[in-house]
Symmetry: none
Subunit: 374 residues, 2 copies
Amino acid sequence: MTDDLAVAWAYLARVVEPPCPALTELVAQVGPVEAADRVRRGQAGEDINRSAEARRQLDCAARDLEVLDRLGGRLITAHDDEWPLLAFTGFGGVPERLRSQAHAPMVLWAVGPAALDEIAYRAAALVGTRAATAYGEFVTADLATGLVEREVAVVSGGAYGIDGAAHRAALAAEGTTVAVLAGGVDVPYPAGHTALLRRIAESGLVISEYPPGTRPARHRFLTRNRLVAALAGATVVVEAGARSGAANTAAWARALGRPVCAVPGPVTSAASVGCHVLLRDGARIVTRADEVVECVGRIGELASEEQHPASPLDELSEAEKRVYDALPRRGARTPDEIAVASGLPARHVLGPLANLELQGLVTSRDGRWKLALR
Amino acid sequence: MTDDLAVAWAYLARVVEPPCPALTELVAQVGPVEAADRVRRGQAGEDINRSAEARRQLDCAARDLEVLDRLGGRLITAHDDEWPLLAFTGFGGVPERLRSQAHAPMVLWAVGPAALDEIAYRAAALVGTRAATAYGEFVTADLATGLVEREVAVVSGGAYGIDGAAHRAALAAEGTTVAVLAGGVDVPYPAGHTALLRRIAESGLVISEYPPGTRPARHRFLTRNRLVAALAGATVVVEAGARSGAANTAAWARALGRPVCAVPGPVTSAASVGCHVLLRDGARIVTRADEVVECVGRIGELASEEQHPASPLDELSEAEKRVYDALPRRGARTPDEIAVASGLPARHVLGPLANLELQGLVTSRDGRWKLALR
């Protein structure tokens, strides 16, 4: 990216509060340099002029780029190979209440060695309440580790609780994890996650729609959530209270046509109430990483069957089961007695008895039958 | 019921292993006395003759009726007003593997003052693993109590674990509960539930398809399960392992077109694995009694909205919640009684009680604690 181009993108990224589809459209038509020029001169059309009014004289582009450079970061735009185009194409049919935010981002500020398009190709979002329980954190870590083992990237929001547990476990398993922030990439939030976010940026990716220095604000969390959902093949809510931002991320996933998964928990736990509401509303229940991979993954990957302990009794015929059950725990019975106890005709008792004996389940002596010691 | 009639029914109830639709059909055509006579003479048609072969010379009818009489019980048949006809009409379209058992019972042996048709009009089955956890037993008790408060009868199988917790809580709340046994009504099973079954028979109902003296056997549990599902408007599996009889009861409920509900639990709990499998396969998630009532109840009853924010109970610690929940709606309890009810060690009860008192949620007098009026 040339300096001019970078400055133009950086200017455009700050001059409006994202997302601003009109500006994205203008850039697509005339390119970023010309678009920046028009916005600066107040000649970008009524909508954009109004959206940019408060900030169009503010020119921090060079400074923003310096900050990004100092962090070793880069801008990612729709003009880059790294742009995960497919991730952002599902915003067409979202419900009314999400409509104003339902647009692809124009510019992403990114720090970290991972390639965004590669991540988005195969990723799951693990999200949930900041007030996670030990159970929630454990399950999150378990899922994140399993996802990494299956080469699925872990996307989350960098917050305390479930988000943090997801990032930490993915890092511990040496997998790829992405934190999507609601403020600038140079504004670690929450402050207690400064070191965690730094570690994510060292091996994965920290990204944001917002220019350096931007403080997270309530509406930005909601706008940010759409990117978490959009970058992931499926969104998993691990724990969420009755009112939780995770439900918003789930709503974005659903609006984008991506699977929404929820982890069940004790009905006595306030931190699982939101998950149970999601499950009631049609979210998929997931209890282990395999089931998440099944939602995320490319075609052909199905969760392995839960392993059932097998009992030799399972394979018995109906008559054999009835004969088997008719034998007392201790002591032996004649076939006639077995017929009475089982309700089977006497002549239909000997065949099953012989089969049961072959399978080592019963033994006979002097015309009397008993259960084999097992 | 005349003596002749009763003897005929009792004979027919034992002469074949239920269910035997051919015999039920014969009785419907010629009446029980004539049907019994034909069976005894080996002139009841090939199918019935074969099914009755082992036991047709066995005449314990008078003795069986004496046993029933001594227990203060009665026979209930399709000829009685008390027969819950609608409960047993759904066996038409069940899947192949259940087909051989998919028939209405012919005779039920019953002990208890409750009327079976009234129970079946508005009942829920609460079932689950014998290896229940404290969590499962707590949730079962909570659901059973809530169902009783909404005048829903609690049907279960009398087993250890979830079944027992369901019966006990329904009794404690002075509601109606029904135990459907897989053996004779005079054979308390499990033996450890002898007293519990006696209490159920005092206020609710203990019923069985099997004549007195019959020992429960594996295939009888499966056959019994269809009656549990059939007598209930909805079946709720509270806890179930990967292999659990509760899944069989749920399969019956589904086959009968009744809602199958499952309670979620920790994904780390083996006792909830079966519930999560059911949820994955389309069972309805339930977390409180209201949601069960919604499935069971007559049209027009919908669960009240989840109460979101402002209960002082939301802020309680886990132990405080358990202690609080262990107090009855009316009346007071000693700390020892609360320990038992909550499942907490007695020494861990006083601290939470003191905190609850500080918060004005409970009051104490003379060493007994009760809920504060709110």
